[in-house]
């Protein structure tokens, strides 16, 4: 799982040109362009190694704990976790709980993304407000957002609002910061060109600032997509009666370690899916930046 996630990160790197790491980049492009360019044997070898690594891991998981006498409530084996999936599906409403977490992640991510981007663009348009609010934004950014979860539960009760709020809060800042940064680095000569063409402020935003900011907006969205699941999980852990986070606390109470494992696996899947969805949209929207990894 982690192997595939890392790989996409590196494959996408040439597109995201905001943070160049010259030393690392050359190595990265060497390893990642090879499969894309259809260097057959090497690509096959890499995929083979990737699958092999996964199989070895699964085998160790399956056979090592019993061999060492580790009990099921410490580390359940792979097959036990799979069996638990079936049981959870039948008896613990796994489906509805999974959907609940999935929807909360998506809605929280979308809301936080919209608010973060909106705030970033607004602050980017006003140097004064950006300076006035900078220390407060920094303070909120540093404050551990997950610690707000109990507070939200005290305010809104045991429903889906607290976990959505934690998610929105956690998603908000990386996007805000990225968008704000991109607004500051818009090419002023381009803005002058637009001024010479007598373009209105709003049109300048739509035609220059907004498109200029897209690469950094997507960088923020990608970071946030991985954080969204954390927000939802914390919300559900602290005070929920639905969702995968709830199943984790429920499983913990029953010393059902397999259930906890399964919930973590599904949460990871949601995070990965969200990340890939954003990466796919980014690739479409930013097609004009593609260089040689297309």
């Amino acid at each position: 799982m982690t192997v595939t996630a890392d790989k996409t990160l590196t494959v996408e790197r040439p597109v995201r040109r905001s943070a160049p790491k010259p030393g690392k980049d050359t190595g990265v492009s060497e390893t990642t362009t090879a499969p894309v360019k259809g260097n057959g044997s090497r690509a096959t070898l890499e995929v083979g190694m990737m699958v092999g690594f996964g199989l070895v891991f699964l085998a160790i998981w399956e056979f090592l704990p019993p061999a060492l006498g580790v009990p099921r409530y410490i580390i359940p084996t792979f097959s036990q976790c799979m069996a638990e999936f079936a049981r959870m599906w039948a008896q613990e409403d796994l489906g509805p709980n999974f959907v609940s977490t999935l929807i909360s992640s998506i809605v929280g991510f979308a809301l936080g993304g919209l608010l973060g981007a909106g705030a970033g663009y607004l602050l980017g348009m006003s140097k004064l407000w950006e300076r006035v609010l900078a220390p407060y934004i920094l303070a909120l950014q540093i404050a551990p957002k997950v610690a707000f979860a109990p507070l939200f539960i005290m305010w809104f009760g045991y429903n889906s609002i607290p976990k959505l709020l934690v998610t929105v809060l956690i998603v908000f800042f990386p996007i805000l910061v990225n968008v704000l940064q991109s607004m500051k680095t818009v090419d002023q000569d381009l803005m002058n060109l637009a001024r010479v063409y007598s373009m209105s402020r709003w049109k300048m935003f739509l035609k220059i600032e907004l498109p200029s900011s897209l690469p950094q907006l997507f960088a923020g969205l990608r970071i946030s997509s991985t954080l969204a699941v954390i927000g939802v999980t914390v919300g559900e852990l602290v005070g929920g009666n639905t969702g995968l986070g709830f199943l984790i606390t429920y499983g913990e109470g029953q010393a059902n370690t397999a259930m906890v494992f399964d919930a973590i696996i599904l949460l990871t899947l949601i995070g990965v899916a969200l990340y890939f969805a954003i990466a796919a949209i980014e690739k479409r929207v930013l097609h004009y930046l593609e260089r040689n990894d297309g």
Partner: protein, 259 residues
């Protein structure tokens, strides 16, 4: 179709908002450009070349003096002025033809009319085949030609060129200089070419204005009395060329010694 440009006793002082220090970019500067004339402005770095460009394009006004286009005082940006920088300023998310349409979008043209004008302009720049490509797919010279297409598409009467060739390699530069010279002569526009390349100033212009170092002011001004304005390569073969370049060199050099 073409405009006359007059700079009258221009002084521009910039005041740093934080420190309160003020810097005089140009002082008591006067020169004129006749309709259809191509005047090269040369000077050492920091002589206020970009300041002149910004004041003529109306991005900001002078501290003292006035800029006149066709006898009319410049108080803001004007639709008949086009400018082009060393950077091509093409929008990477737009195809080449959409980039050429960028300035036209502020004019009362229909979408079809815009596209027609943009394509005609690209054809003139021999870029018609690349209309649907994106800027990163084009070479530096082609991008600069696309930028000129965008600049001329709005049918400006006055074109300001700020070192448009300085980022190009030597061969591309020669080809592009000729291309620009022809196109600008065909369009018949008045043109100010800001450059630090003395040879370029001589082979491309009708007249040269030499500026001093900061604060910039005019230290010399003379006509280039040579044929082939539309063919810089041909003109560079004229024996008189070197003499003009030498004169420019001396004008700049003397000023440095004084400073």
């Amino acid at each position: 179709m073409t405009s006359r440009l007059d700079l009258q006793n221009i002084t521009k002082v910039f005041t740093d908002r934080k420190t309160g220090n003020s810097v005089t970019a140009v002082t008591d500067m006067s020169f004129s450009v006749a309709p259809g004339e191509l005047v090269a402005v040369v000077g050492p770095s920091g002589c206020g070349k970009s300041t002149i460009l910004n004041m003529v394009s109306g991005l900001y006004g002078p501290t003292e003096g006035q800029v006149l286009i066709d006898g009319e005082k410049v108080t803001g940006t004007r639709p008949e002025v086009g400018f082009m920088l060393q950077k091509d300023l093409l929008l990477p998310w737009r195809s080449i033809v959409e980039n050429v349409e960028f300035g036209l979008e502020e004019r009362p043209f229909s979408k079809a009319e815009r596209r027609k004008r943009a394509l005609a302009e690209l054809k003139r720049m021999q870029l018609a085949d690349f209309a649907d490509n994106y800027p990163h797919q084009l070479s530096g010279g082609m991008r600069q030609r696309a930028a000129l297409a965008r600049t001329l598409a709005i049918e400006p009467e006055l074109v300001l060129l700020d070192e448009p060739f300085s980022a190009l390699d030597a061969q591309t530069k020669l080809v592009l200089q000729r291309h620009f010279a022809r196109t600008i002569a065909e369009a018949g526009v008045t043109c100010v070419l800001i450059t630090h390349d003395l040879n370029e100033a001589v082979i491309m212009s009708d007249r040269v204005v030499v500026l001093s170092g900061r604060p910039g002011r005019v230290v010399d001004e003379f006509a280039i009395d040579l044929p082939h304005r539309t063919d810089p390569l041909q003109r560079s073969l004229e024996p008189q060329c070197g003499i003009y370049v030498k004169r420019l060199f001396d004008a700049l050099h003397l000023e440095n010694e004084e400073a």
